[in-house]
């Protein structure tokens, strides 16, 4: 059996510096990543966390930081329904200037056998990276219906 690898490429009318900053700055990710604010000092070995409404949704560790060309970190989904049950996978972001565009390649691999997180991230990345492109090109973001629905369900559960 081949191990699952998720690869997504998008071209953004921007600079590698601006794309790198958007991917590593908590205020920026909170805007285009549906409220998920990233925190890290981005030194190799340091922790990376994403919080949404104060709740931990993803945690990991910086593997590589070659700003503004490459960023890599481990990735453990802490949000429901995964709740940190699966081992860390790996995210690699490659940025390449091509004329007035940045070619951004996100490669997400090293998943647990029979990973359930793989299906989640395969749905998630196209929306996150489409939203990033809109954010940098038009200062508008896209919304994720299933994130809103999941948040609503959790809130309802907390009340009942």
């Amino acid at each position: 059996m081949t191990k699952p690898v998720f690869v997504y490429v998008t071209y953004i009318a921007s600079t590698p510096e601006k794309v790198f900053k958007a991917l590593t700055d908590g205020d920026a990710t909170a805007k285009f990543w549906f409220g998920n604010a990233v925190t890290s000092d981005w030194k190799v070995g340091s922790a990376v966390t994403f919080h949404r409404d104060g709740k931990l949704v993803v945690s990991g560790q910086v593997l590589e930081n070659d700003a503004p060309r490459r960023l890599s970190y481990t990735f453990q989904a802490q949000h429901a329904p995964h709740n940190g049950a699966e081992k860390h996978s790996r995210v690699v972001m490659d940025l390449e200037q091509q004329r007035d565009q940045v070619k951004l390649t996100v490669t997400h691999d090293d998943f647990a056998p029979d990973s359930k997180v793989f299906a989640s991230i395969s749905n998630g990345w196209p929306l996150v990276l489409s939203s990033l492109k809109s954010y940098l090109e038009t200062n508008r973001v896209l919304y994720a219906p299933w994130y809103e629905e999941a948040a609503k369900r959790e809130a309802e559960k907390a009340v009942s």
Binding site: V9, Q101, Y143, P145
Partner: protein, 166 residues
């Protein structure tokens, strides 16, 4: 006839637009020539109709038939590459665009399906090209401008086509 075609490459993008505008961008040459490397699309809007991508000098780049024409939800066409000449021996594939509303935006899913055990090296062409084409379509609809992303078919693809016996 499409049952034997299996999806090999899928690309999803979300666009701040409407399904009608995305449909128009896929089916009218006024749009395609801006984001699809200057190609003009020609399409007979019915099942069994002709589908074509034409180069600026008039040569035919891609030729096929309409399998599904359901505006603004689904367009599916057979896709046979006529130019470059070497590529003509490749069997036709099927390209399907699914358009769905997604919370104020549009989710566009492109699926490239093949009827044979197509080598990865040949798939690399579409895997390289579609993100550039569909990033351009998204930019065009959201900003009014499409980028000029320069691209040649991957060397591994050209070599694999040369080796291919049909």
């Amino acid at each position: 006839m499409t049952a034997r075609f299996k999806p090999k490459t899928v690309y999803v993008t979300y666009i701040a637009s409407t399904p009608e505008k995305v449909w128009q961008a896929l089916t009218s040459s006024e749009f395609t020539r801006k984001y699809f490397w200057e190609r003009d699309v020609e399409i007979e809007p019915k099942r069994g109709g002709a589908f074509m991508l034409r180069l600026p000098d008039g040569r035919i780049n891609v030729q096929g038939k309409v399998l599904d024409h359901d505006p603004p939800r689904r367009l599916s066409v057979t896709w046979h590459v006529e130019w470059p000449e070497d590529f003509r021996k490749l069997p036709e594939c099927v390209v399907t665009y699914d358009i769905a509303p997604a919370d104020g935006a549009v989710r566009l899913t492109m699926t490239e399906s093949h009827s044979w055990d197509v080598p990865e090296a040949i798939l690399s062409g579409g895997r390289m090209g579609w993100p550039a084409v569909l990033s351009g379509l998204k930019s065009l609809l959201e900003t009014g401008t499409a980028p000029a992303i320069q691209m040649e078919p991957p060397k591994e693809m050209i070599e694999a086509i040369r080796r291919l016996k049909v």
